[in-house]
């Protein structure tokens, strides 16, 4: 168990394309557990990706089940090792913020529904269909694995500058 420091931009880790992780390696399950602990410890976050704690491997975790927006459609805690989005449909715009880019939010358009394939922490090959907030959260975290921040996807620059609610 370890709650890690969440790195903030301009930390170079956040702009790197991550390498595939070994789903069977002990380090990978330790990393997954660190991500889970760090996400829950932050209190207000619904997802975190490995580069946000300084590890350049393709691992991310998401849990929107406790959030008002995600309560209806969710898969609880989702641990994703080497995730790939294999299908996307629809469009959904949400105003996103990120622990790694404090004090900035912006409207980002993403797929409304996705099918994502990954290995979980028990080495199961999983395919899940997600929609709504859970789908948005997963797309946001998977962007981190490719060195992309939500800043790279903001759809209108208008009114984005204010402190978000914690």
């Amino acid at each position: 168990m370890a709650v890690c420091e969440v790195l903030v931009y301009p930390d170079p880790s956040l702009k790197q394309v991550c390498s595939a992780a070994d789903p069977q390696a002990a380090e990978t399950s330790t990393l997954a557990q660190d991500l889970i602990d760090t996400m829950y410890a932050s209190g207000h976050s619904v997802g975190i990706a490995a580069p946000q704690i300084g590890t350049s491997l393709r691992v991310a975790v998401v849990d929107v089940s406790e959030s008002k927006l995600g309560r209806k459609h969710n898969h609880g805690l989702v641990v994703m090792i080497n995730p790939e989005i294999i299908e996307r449909s629809g469009q959904k715009t949400m105003r996103e913020g990120c622990m790694s880019v404090p004090d900035y939010t912006g409207n980002v358009e993403r797929a409304k529904e996705i099918v994502v394939q990954f290995f979980d922490q028990h080495q199961n090959d999983c395919i899940i269909r997600c929609k709504g907030f859970e789908a948005v959260a997963i797309q946001h975290e998977l962007d981190h694995l490719n060195g992309k921040l939500f800043l790279d996807r903001i759809s209108n620059p208008g009114t984005e500058l204010f402190r978000r609610k914690h």
């Binding site: 207000h44 927006l69 105003r95 996103e96």
Partner: protein, 179 residues
């Protein structure tokens, strides 16, 4: 360090932003938050700037004399200490859209209601669209709700105005999600 708010407005043309930025760069000013947009045929810029040595707005005003002589209007406001800091804005964030055939008082009636309920507007844009014969007014207002009010409350509150002004009004939650 003293901070200043610089407001610049004039007939739109290519080069206003770079002319403005060049003056600030040559003076050694830092630009913090800024917002610029085209309104009608005018381009308007508002910038919060700072300079390590300036005690008054005089050097800024002098440096902008040339731009002013080209027809731009420049106003420099000296901020009180802390005036450059963004305040904490807790509370749900909502977007209020108001649109309908143009008539006097749309902005006033809507914003008066918000003000009376202690709802803080953080961004407001209005635009006159449609044709000359049938002008349509569009107002987009982003506001922070006090803890005691919900988006549904605002919706109910605006219902009377919707009938009175004969406009369409919609309210939705745009509170950011942290991921």
């Amino acid at each position: 360090m003293k901070h200043f708010a610089v407001t610049i407005i004039g007939r739109d043309r290519p080069g206003i932003v770079s002319d403005t930025a060049r003056v600030l760069y040559e003076l050694g000013c830092n630009v913090a938050d800024s917002s610029s947009t085209i309104l009608g045929g005018q381009f308007a810029m508002i910038l919060i700037v700072s300079h390590p040595d300036f005690e008054s707005s005089e050097p800024l005003q002098q440096a902008y004399a040339e731009l002013e002589s080209s027809g731009m209007s420049v106003f420099v406001r000296t901020l009180k200490p802390g005036g450059e800091m963004r305040p904490e804005l807790p509370g749900e964030l909502c977007m209020i859209s108001v649109y309908g055939s143009d008539k006097p008082g749309i902005v006033y009636q809507v914003t008066r209601l918000l003000s009376q309920n202690n709802i803080n507007i953080i961004d407001l844009a209005t635009k006159l669209i449609g044709s000359e014969e049938r002008p349509v007014y569009v107002m987009m207002c982003e506001a922070v709700l006090p803890a005691t009010l919900s988006v549904e409350d605002i919706r109910d509150m605006l219902e009377n105005l919707r009938e009175e002004l004969q406009v369409d009004i919609s309210v939705r939650n745009v509170t950011p999600v942290e991921l």
